[in-house]
């Protein structure tokens, strides 16, 4: 675009507008990092808790959830680093960030409210996690993530009625369908688009 004073036709103007608007799409790579990171972290914690309790008879198997604390710091550092490097801030990106931040705050409140009965928190956390997942799927127009959000709600309902023994295994399954599978599909799509 060297000759800025060139007289344009209407078609040329429309072409420029649509080309430029298409270039401002949200970078979904950030989305896949968080889905995979948290998907694996919660999957490992949930499955470890289930296996330790069921097969090793460990009474305090819930201590594995302490891994979430360094996970929060890793997420914050990653967010800070990518935010500093970013040359552009899209409205979708900002909305995406605040939806997940809102979920984080709501989850913290839930943990405080349930601090004396942490064993019963899983269905509520899954219920809560379904919302940002579902909305994010619509924001980035990615159906597996929309389906992932629905999976969270279905599993939340199922384990609520199935009883506390199913909570950790149910959470691991929810992570698989809610975060990990959509996360890898998203990552593959990004890698494919980059080729």
């Amino acid at each position: 675009m060297e000759n800025e004073e060139k007289v344009m036709t209407g078609e040329e103007s429309l072409k420029i507008i649509s080309e430029m608007i298409n270039k401002t799409k949200f970078d979904i790579r950030q989305g896949s990092f968080y889905l995979l990171f948290w998907g694996w972290l919660i999957f490992v914690c949930s499955l470890s808790e289930f296996l330790l309790k069921k097969f090793a008879g460990v009474g305090h198997s819930y201590y594995v959830w302490l891994l979430v604390i360094p996970g929060v710091f890793v997420s914050m550092i990653y967010g800070f680093m990518t935010g500093r490097k970013a040359k552009v801030r899209t409205y979708t990106g900002i909305l995406y960030m605040w939806i997940w931040f809102g979920f984080f705050i709501a989850a913290m409140v839930l943990f405080i409210v349930h601090s004396k009965s942490m064993y019963s928190v899983a269905p509520y956390i899954l219920l809560l996690a379904g919302l940002p997942t579902f909305i994010s799927g619509f924001l980035i127009k990615f159906k597996p993530l929309i389906a992932g959000g629905i999976c969270f709600w279905v599993i939340a309902l199922a384990i609520f009625f199935a009883g506390t023994d199913t909570y950790s295994l149910g959470s691991a399954i929810a992570m698989l369908f809610g975060y990990l599978i959509p996360g890898y599909m998203l990552k593959n799509r990004v890698d494919h688009d980059a080729v």
Binding site: M1, M8, E11, S13, I16, E19, K23, R89
Partner: protein
């Protein structure tokens, strides 16, 4: 070739239209990002950004990041309004042609 002399002369220029179209969907963008996306030279882009800023269509913030100067651009309310008017005017010019 159809000419559109009545269209907003500030926006009816390839590079300025590209810059405003780019900024319409984002909250803020660095000068280098706009240069990459539009494929313009730094000098030319700088001139056009200054014209858009003088017209009040965009806001330009200069600051430092890691000791390097950083130029951030964002669209103003006036710029948003003018862009909407430009698109509407464009539609008006194009629609009779489609009907015919």
């Amino acid at each position: 070739m159809t000419r559109f002399k009545e269209l907003d002369p500030i926006l009816h220029s390839q590079l300025r239209l590209a810059v405003v179209s780019l900024l319409i969907g984002i909250e803020m963008a660095e000068f280098t990002y706009i240069r990459e996306q539009t494929g313009a030279t730094a000098g030319n882009l700088s001139i056009q950004i200054t014209r858009l800023k003088e017209a009040g269509y965009i806001e330009v913030i200069k600051k430092f990041r890691n000791n390097y100067p950083q130029t951030l651009c964002s669209i103003t309310e006036l710029g948003r309004q003018k862009f909407a008017e430009y698109v509407n005017d464009l539609k008006d010019y194009l629609s009779p042609k489609k009907q015919g």
